[in-house]
């Protein structure tokens, strides 16, 4: 059991080397991250730059960030007045809010049942849920459209929301989360006289809010930006959500006012960025706790 000397090849750290290594590490890390960030930001920089340019400066032979003529006021006021942008944002909020609320109302009890209750057909249901995860809206679009038409429900907020009422992703995420919820607390609640209904909403749900926050970000981002389905079911412009509204600017056949277009894009992206900013901490914590790891 004699101790062996360190192998001669091992170069020992000197105090100076340690510092150099630390600084070098910082340079490499930030170098990589900033390079990536530049790539990520490039479109946004162009978007912001364009949103303050007059039309004749949008396309020039040499690229410049700052316009010769500041046109931001015009572009933004045009974006806000030419189409009811705030109305679109409001529609987007109603749409996202409505979808989110129903998604949660449906997914939470289902996820709870999948995670904590034993009932026949549970595994079949779970497999179906996973199947649902793979189906994009494009797939059931046509039958749904015809169904809604027969019910006379086209061109309503409801018709825009209905295909998304069931979020299999939410069920999956929340099920993972609920699985780690202590059984003891549920037992305690039963002993205290709570019904299963109350257990779900008064005990399990309040503790799941990081996961709910995480899911909300996913859901809001997806439905705020969804174009495909509203395009199909909406014929009334006053119900249009943001991307549909954006089409008023992005249309290719005639005057695309790029300045106003990017201004509108900026205005309509901002709420999402702000949402993420606020939910960021819970978001990552929430995903961590859902066992998606």
């Amino acid at each position: 059991m004699s101790t062996q000397p360190l192998p001669p090849s091992a170069v020992q750290t000197s105090p100076g080397l340690a510092r150099t290594r630390h600084i070098l590490g910082l340079v490499v890390t930030h170098g990589l991250l900033l390079t990536g960030a530049a790539f990520i930001l490039l479109p946004f920089v162009w978007m912001l730059a364009t949103s303050i340019k007059p039309p004749d400066e949008v396309f020039t032979a040499t690229f410049s960030l700052w316009p010769k003529r500041f046109y931001g006021v015009e572009n933004y006021s045009y974006a806000l007045t030419a189409a009811p942008l705030l109305r679109f944002a409001l529609n987007g909020a109603i749409l996202c809010g409505g979808i989110l609320i129903i998604q949660l109302l449906v997914a939470i009890p289902c996820a709870y049942a999948l995670a904590k209750l034993r009932f026949p057909g549970r595994d079949v249901l779970f497999v179906l849920v996973l199947l649902g995860l793979a189906v994009p809206v494009q797939v059931p679009a046509l039958p749904l459209y015809i169904g809604l038409a027969n019910l006379g429900l086209l061109n309503t907020y409801f018709s825009m929301m209905v295909p998304f009422f069931l979020s299999v992703f939410a069920i999956f995420l929340l099920r993972q989360f609920f699985k780690s919820f202590p059984d003891d607390i549920i037992h305690a609640a039963r002993l205290d006289g709570m019904s299963e209904f109350e257990i779900v909403w008064r005990v399990v749900t309040p503790s799941a809010w990081p996961a709910i926050a995480a899911f909300s970000v996913f859901s809001i981002v997806a439905h705020w930006n969804d174009l495909y389905w509203p395009l199909i079911v909406i014929t009334d412009a006053s119900l249009a959500p943001p991307p549909l509204g954006m089409m008023f600017f992005a249309n290719a056949e005639t005057g695309s006012n790029y300045g106003a277009l990017t201004a509108a894009a900026t205005i309509l992206t901002a709420p999402l960025v702000i949402t993420f900013l606020f939910a960021r901490r819970q978001f990552i914590q929430g995903i961590t706790m859902t066992g998606v790891k």
């Binding site: 607390i185 037992h187 305690a188 039963r190 002993l191 205290d192």
Partner: protein, 398 residues
Amino acid sequence: MARVELRALAKSFGAVPVLSGIDLDIADGEFLTLIGPSGCGKSTLIRMIAGLEPQTSGSISIGGVSIDHLRPHERRVAMVFQSYALYPHMSVFSNIALPLTMQRLSLWERLPLIKLLSSRRRRVMPEIAREVRAIAEQLQIEHLLDRRPARLSGGQRQRVALGRAMVRHPDVFLMDEPLSNLDAKLRVHMRTELAELHQRLKTTFIYVTHDQVEAMTMSDRVAMMDAGRILQLGTPTELYERPINIKVASFIGSPAINLLKAKVGHDGYIELMDRRLTLQTPLEPGADVTLGIRPEAMFPASSEEIRTGRASLPASLRRKENLGSEFILHFDVAGPASVVARVPAGPVVQAVNGSVELSFDVAACHIFNEQGERIEPNPLDSCELSRPRTLVASGGGV
């Protein structure tokens, strides 16, 4: 009044039997502890009493009334969980008040917003608050009522969990390892508090633990379980002094009982390492037996002369553990086996070293047959008392 009777209770998970044939009568106001190794079914049993897990067969009654068909909250039992199971998003006050609001308010009166409309609620809530405060005072947690459980220490959480159980004035308290999440010091302290609570409330307590110290110190009776059955039921002293088999003997007591292989000699006397002991059993000569000797029953022979009714073993000291007030001595003996003795601190034990004779009181030996069951020695007649002396090798000492 709150006598708990379990009759032929059994439970299987799927095809796996977990509990079988549990018969148990727990008197009103008794403190009964279920003890046993991990996985033996203690939690399952207590949860069946609470109604959280349906039994496969058998019946449970409280106060003479069968409760098999009752839902958990109708059973008039309260449970304290190992994890405390406090509602993490509610204040301590709400945690304790919850069972009462559930009991006394209708669903409508509990719904958010709608509840504000109820005038009955406005009448009932102050009552509940009064009761909660009374309980909190008893447990000395009044100052914590506004906190969330996350901001409490382990001991405080423990008390809140107790409060939540007490507020319902249940007929039976069920506790599933309520102290095992606490650190050693706090555990000792809470042990006392629980025992005193029991004395004060005089309610039936069914207490689950796998810590034999808890079982010994708090209980009126202890039921030692293993593999889904009750091995022995009795007072702590009975279990310690007359364990019915090796499992019970070695589970109870710390350091654990020393178990030594021995044989029944041709005349029925037990021979341990070729030394004949003044212990006679009804077993066949030549049968293998196991002798159980508690560590505190052994000490190095040099520390006192070998007296009547004692025997000794040659042993060599391997390690001494100083606990301050006492020493745990680890010896190697022939077998090869190791033997532990527990000796009060003092100059004598300090001096122990190398080979010694380990002396023990023959009357304190527990005898177990090959199946591990306890065998009572034959009573010794007076003439036997003098004979063994010659058999005891006089101690080598330090």
